[in-house]
Subunit: 288 residues, 2 copies
Amino acid sequence: MKSQYPDTIRLLVDAYSRLTPELQKAARFMVEHPEEIGLNSMRTVARDADVKPATITRLTKALGFREYEALREPFRQRLRTRSPEFAAKLQDVQRRGKTGSRSILSDLRAQEIANIEHSLSDDNLPIMDEAAQTMHESRRVYVLGLRGAHAPAFLFHYAYQLFQDNSQLLDTSAGIFADQLRGINSEDSLLVVSFPPYTQLTIDAVEYAAEASARIIAVTDSVVSPAANAAAHIIVTRNQSPSFYHSFTGAVGVMQALITLLVTKAGGDAVKIVEEAEKRLSRISAYW
Amino acid sequence: MKSQYPDTIRLLVDAYSRLTPELQKAARFMVEHPEEIGLNSMRTVARDADVKPATITRLTKALGFREYEALREPFRQRLRTRSPEFAAKLQDVQRRGKTGSRSILSDLRAQEIANIEHSLSDDNLPIMDEAAQTMHESRRVYVLGLRGAHAPAFLFHYAYQLFQDNSQLLDTSAGIFADQLRGINSEDSLLVVSFPPYTQLTIDAVEYAAEASARIIAVTDSVVSPAANAAAHIIVTRNQSPSFYHSFTGAVGVMQALITLLVTKAGGDAVKIVEEAEKRLSRISAYW
DNA sequence: CGCGGAATGAAACAAATGATTCATCTGTTG
DNA sequence: CAACAGATGAATCATTTGTTTCATTCCGCG
């Protein structure tokens, strides 16, 4: 008995674009909450995914399974084969839940830790490494992140520009957005950061870059995100938050991981270059 | 909502000797196959344990649970929450064997988690709460972060501006930096993010704000940082990184914590305001 | 031997599950 | 606008689930 969980996920992702909206909603929930599929009944899954039970049945048929149980089995198998060891670190953190704002904050801390753990997960490590390799081989690295995603995008660009001079941060100021991408071609790569609600401008830019055959690295919330549509490398980051706005901590962590990898690939000199650059850029405070 | 899987196992083990033979068989199976409890139906468990369904029901009652579902829940919860922790542990093992980029990345992950834990530590929680209160009571909130610190500063400003309109992000573009602070006074607060090497411009701005009696919230690396000199609230974030550049993950986490607190203080309407704002700001992609 | 009480198993039940059917809705095409 | 096909949802069905009830078995003691 071989574990076909990855195949099932791939099936879900590959079929995604051919599915109807309701089926997509169900498929997306499955990709994003794989544990719940193994743990709960079909009706419960349907309820949590905000979908009718019949939709789940239709999805199983649409994917080519004979019955729901066949679709569910890989998810269940995956949960079975995990390490029997139990570590309660996360729950310990959660357990400290106090009252009022302290409770919210400790909740937030637990979620941020989980965000980092998932964003820098084992699954993502090789993807990030390949993505870094792609960027390393690129003539030019375009960086795109609008609205909230500007923060991680900027951070990447700033750190990158300290040791390489072939990056360009796309911004919307002065309406020159489209012009900035004009020269992009297959030798270039585009690092795009995008989260729901996806900005139309971002999606348009990604499609433009894809048509120009540029390599796309997408940092986003799901493999079926529109920003990941034509991406060569999809880095999925968890972004849960107890607050109204999703967290960018995971995305920032990914950016810093990419920078770290790129510095390594750039060679040992890069570190010295960087140190010099930062010192040159600022007068160190007299305090230090 | 606390998860008591260890307690449940202990309960099973402790009660074991007092149970009747059939109940023991069931209890033993549960202890030895905890995953199956969370994954399968009661009847399936009974079949696998070679026991009648009624025996399982009797066991749940014998252990003091009201219904089977109550006994099953801890087992299920465990399968849900264990995955990230397990991933980290597995990676630690792998780290010793592998070389190169994977080792660096797992290093980075461990450090980022530590950064979050320290930045959102119990010591910092009350400070952040007070800082949020100060900002909440301010007429105007100035936000300052230059170079790398621009990322967390921008993130704060962007999220804040979604539900409040009294913030100003200080930037250096077009040489109008000094002008932007001109009107600051004792009713205002300045949220400043700064890390070594401290930018002189940042320190100057903080001193200017301090002379104007503005309340200063400093997010920085040390209580003796020049940026914290005149600060009313000092939020120390850890920023370690295996790379050349220090991490901003902790600072981003603090920013998001402050936003969370400020939304709470702003009242329940804020959430709706935000949702509307985001929708207005962007056309949702046709994909969704 | 047989009686009593507990342990066990078989049967029965309502509630739920997964699947199917059919009616309605939606959006497209001519 | 009409007409059609596909997508969706409501209703329904047989099956499975967790639980309870009741009959049977087991075993120690007189």
